[in-house]
Every structure is written in structure tokens, then in C-alpha cells.
């Protein structure tokens, strides 16, 4: 079946079998291997991507369902200016060890701080409760997401200041 899926801003027209899961399309057809397959059973969140901005588990959705949809993967966080503030915060605050869960954690973190600019510990822990990390004990992931929220808030303040004339 022919579908057009926009991934990280680039439209891809592909002929795919309907039974291919979205994660297979992303990893094997588009060769974007930042999206991981962990449990393959809707539990761990390593395969998290944004589906029109909403975080979903791409191991539990068919690729054909993304026809006409904008998908964001972890590769889409990087900008020409460098690391996204969420990526920079994970690096700065040691929000990862093995890195397997990190793409999902950062994407969920991004959508959280878009709607909640100053998330509490509980807010963050609730938001990432569908994503499992087996290394960090979560402490530094929570800190990193809060730090990214703070960076986002101070960037917004800076851009809101009147021009220095």
C-alpha cells in the first residue's frame, strides 16, 4: 500500500505492507534507528514517537496508520543550531546511562514542557510513567526535564524583552 509519511519535516512516499508496524517503517525503511524496540509489547516506551505532536508507542501502531501524518522521532530534535534544550539538559544533568530509553524520555519530556512550563516532580513522573528506564533510577531524568523547562522559560523571557535601542 502506498503511503506518504512526513518524518521530521521530510515527506516520504513508501510502498509498505499493512502489517508493518510504524517502528519497523521508521527503523528499517527510513533507517532512522534512534527509535528503539525494547519490549515490543506496549510496556517500555523505547519506541515512543510523536504522532502529529502526541507521544505514542510506535510498536503498537501500523505504519499505514501514519499515512498523511507528521511523525517526529528523536532525530528530529536536533536543529541546525545544535542540540535541542531537552537534549542539552539530558547531557548536562546526566539524564541517561545506557541511553536505550532516552529517545522516548526526551520526546515525552518535550510534549510535557510545551503544555506545562514549570512541571513538578510529580508532573514529570506522571508524564514519563509509560517509559521505563532500567539504569538511572529516574532521578536525573526528572531533573533534566525540569532543567529543559527552565531553559525554555528563560529563552521565552529573553525573546519577550524589548529590543535594546
Amino acid at each position: 500500500m502506498e503511503v506518504t509519511i512526513t518524518v521530521n519535516g521530510t515527506a516520504h512516499t513508501l510502498d509498505i505492507e499493512p502489517r508493518l508496524l510504524l517502528v519497523h517503517v521508521i527503523r528499517e525503511r527510513l533507517r532512522l534507528t534512534g527509535t528503539h524496540i525494547g519490549c515490543d509489547s506496549t510496556s517500555c516506551g523505547a519506541c515512543t514517537v510523536l504522532y502529529d505532536g502526541t507521544p505514542v508507542k510506535s510498536c503498537t501502531m501500523f505504519g499505514v496508520q501514519a499515512d498523511g501524518v507528521e511523525i517526529t522521532t528523536v532525530e528530529g530534535l536536533l536543529t541546525a543550531a545544535g542540540l535541542d534544550p531537552m537534549q542539552a539538559a539530558f547531557k548536562e544533568h546526566h539524564g541517561l546511562q545506557c541511553g536505550f530509553c532516552t529517545p522516548g524520555m526526551m520526546l515525552v519530556g518535550k510534549t510535557l514542557i510545551e503544555r506545562n512550563t514549570d512541571p513538578s516532580d510529580d508532573d514529570v513522573r506522571n508524564a514519563i510513567s509509560g517509559n521505563i528506564c532500567r539504569c538511572t533510577g529516574y532521578m536525573n531524568i526528572v531533573t533534566a526535564i525540569q532543567a529543559a523547562a527552565a531553559t525554555q522559560a528563560s529563552d521565552a523571557d529573553a525573546s519577550a524583552e524589548p529590543a535594546n535601542v
Binding site: F62, G130, N131
Partner: protein, 289 residues
């Protein structure tokens, strides 16, 4: 894991979906949120030849009050229930349950229609809808019928939907007068199935209980409506003794088995505790404690 091959259909209207169901019948499955169906297909417990994706059909995702009833469209996501002002303001039992279903990412896709049709005895919304005395609307190409959830949740993973039918909405009578409701869920961790969960609802009229709803999750072959416990409450004045008695009756109606989540005895005890606690909280909400 890859499911078996299937042909994929994506209707954009209800009529188109009903035509497909009429012609494909038993060989087809309806794909809504996919959060139960796709795992089942990956494990090859389900291997439909045709998948009818209803996600692009407009008009199946409304949450609205219509003439003294709450209508919830089949495609309403669990997270839509979490975010709904109407649900939060007026339907505390549903509002309590929604954020406890699975995990946040699953809630972004999982739907109420899919959850009910799946008939998992560990499904949270099955118990909530039994306690609410909900009805489901089932449409086929030539007819439309309304079925009580008590009848719809026929057996383990088996609803009473016909192969040519589509569940389009859930209907619940809106509460009148003081009321309260809760969903208490014991789970080992986020995303796990409930060890035990209990939905409770009370409506107070002139100081006594006008209507009561109690239903149970994960303690039998289906979600269980504790009708003897409900009947014992109606017409009575709320009290701890009464709620304890309802707890005992509900525990007697449960049929749990020992597994990794707990022993049969423990689960039965927790039904009793949660029914008492849920009714106490419901009565407090209704200002009758």
C-alpha cells in the same frame, strides 16, 4: 513481532465502515486505538484477514450531554476523558478511573469503544460502565440497537456485538441530585493490570440512597456487577455499617484466582475494603457522610 498479513481498509464515514462490515463480516476486525488489538495480533491470538481502521471517521469522538444523558463516542480516547471538563465536573467515577487506565502513551490512543468491545475482565472501563448502568449503541447497515453493558460484556474477551455491527456510542443517564463516585485500583505498578479494582457510585435522594452502582475489575472471568450489594444500599440511610455490609456482599460476588498479583483470599478481602472505602468517599462527595 509481525502480525499475520491482512488487507487494510480506511473508511471515512460510518456508512462506508458499515458497508465494509456487511460484506466482510467475520473476516474483519475494527481497528480503533489498537492498544489491545495490535498486541493480540502480534501474538497471533487474533489474525483477521481484514482490518477496518475507523480512526479517520468524523463524529465518533464527542463527549456531550444530550437530553439528560451523557453520550461518549466510541473513538473517545482515555486521555480525552482525562481532559474533559464535563467528565471532571459531573462524572466523578469516570474521572477517577480514566487517569488510572494503562499508561499515558497508551491513553493517548486507547478508546472507550475498543476497551469495552475487547471485554477484558481486567479492563477498567468495563467495571465503570457496569456501575454506571451504561448502554452501548450498535449500528449495522440495516439496523441500530441499544444494548445494556451488562449484556454487552457477555464473556471473557467476548462481547455480544455481531460481526456486521459497529459500536458508535455509549449512553449513560446523567445524575440528578447529590451524587458521588470513585474508582479505586490496586496495581503493582503503572501500566500493570489491576490486582483488584472497584467502581462505586451513589446518588442521594432525601437523605437516603436513591441509586447505587458497584462493579469489580480483575476478580472474575468478566467485570462483575455486584447487584446484591447495590440492592442492599437502595432506600437505606448511608452509614459505615451499611457500606461494610455492601463490601461483604460484593466480595461474595467476586470470583478471584490466586496468581502473581495476590492470593484469592487477599483479592477478595481487598474487594471488601475497596467497596467500603469507595462508598464512603462517594457519600462524602454527595454530602451525605
Amino acid at each position: 513481532m509481525l502480525p499475520s498479513s491482512f488487507e487494510y481498509h480506511r473508511p471515512t464515514t460510518i456508512d462506508e465502515a458499515l458497508d465494509l462490515l456487511a460484506s466482510l463480516g467475520d473476516d474483519a476486525k475494527v481497528l480503533a486505538g489498537g492498544q489491545s488489538l495490535i498486541p493480540m495480533m502480534k501474538l497471533r491470538f487474533a489474525a483477521p484477514s481484514h482490518l477496518i481502521d475507523i480512526n479517520r471517521i468524523d463524529g465518533l469522538d464527542a463527549i456531550e450531554e444530550v437530553g439528560g444523558e451523557l453520550h461518549i463516542g466510541a473513538l473517545v480516547r482515555h486521555n480525552d476523558l482525562v481532559g474533559s471538563e464535563l467528565i471532571r465536573g459531573k462524572y466523578p467515577m469516570i474521572a477517577d478511573a480514566a487517569p488510572q487506565i494503562a499508561d499515558p502513551l497508551v491513553r493517548n490512543l486507547g478508546t472507550i469503544g475498543g476497551s469495552l468491545t475487547h471485554c477484558d475482565p481486567s479492563g477498567d472501563l468495563g467495571a465503570v460502565m457496569l456501575a454506571a448502568n451504561a448502554r452501548v449503541v450498535l449500528k449495522s447497515k440495516d439496523s441500530e440497537r441499544e444494548v445494556a453493558v451488562t449484556e454487552f460484556l457477555a464473556d471473557t474477551f467476548q462481547s455480544s456485538i455481531e460481526p456486521n455491527e459497529l459500536l458508535t456510542k455509549i449512553r449513560i443517564t446523567s445524575p440528578t441530585g447529590p451524587y458521588g463516585g470513585t474508582y479505586l485500583k490496586l496495581e503493582r505498578k503503572v501500566g500493570d493490570y489491576a490486582t483488584v479494582a472497584v467502581a462505586t457510585r451513589l446518588m442521594i435522594s432525601n437523605g437516603s440512597i436513591g441509586a447505587a452502582g458497584i462493579a469489580l475489575t480483575s476478580v472474575g472471568l468478566t467485570n462483575i456487577k455486584a447487584t446484591a450489594a447495590e440492592d442492599a444500599l437502595v432506600g437505606q440511610t448511608p452509614s459505615q455499617e451499611l457500606f461494610s455490609e455492601a463490601g461483604r456482599l460484593a466480595a461474595a460476588a467476586s470470583n478471584p484466582v490466586s496468581d502473581v498479583r495476590g492470593s484469592e483470599k487477599y483479592k477478595r478481602h481487598m474487594v471488601e475494603v475497596y467497596v467500603r472505602r469507595g462508598l464512603t468517599r462517594s457519600a462524602e462527595m454527595a454530602g451525605a457522610a
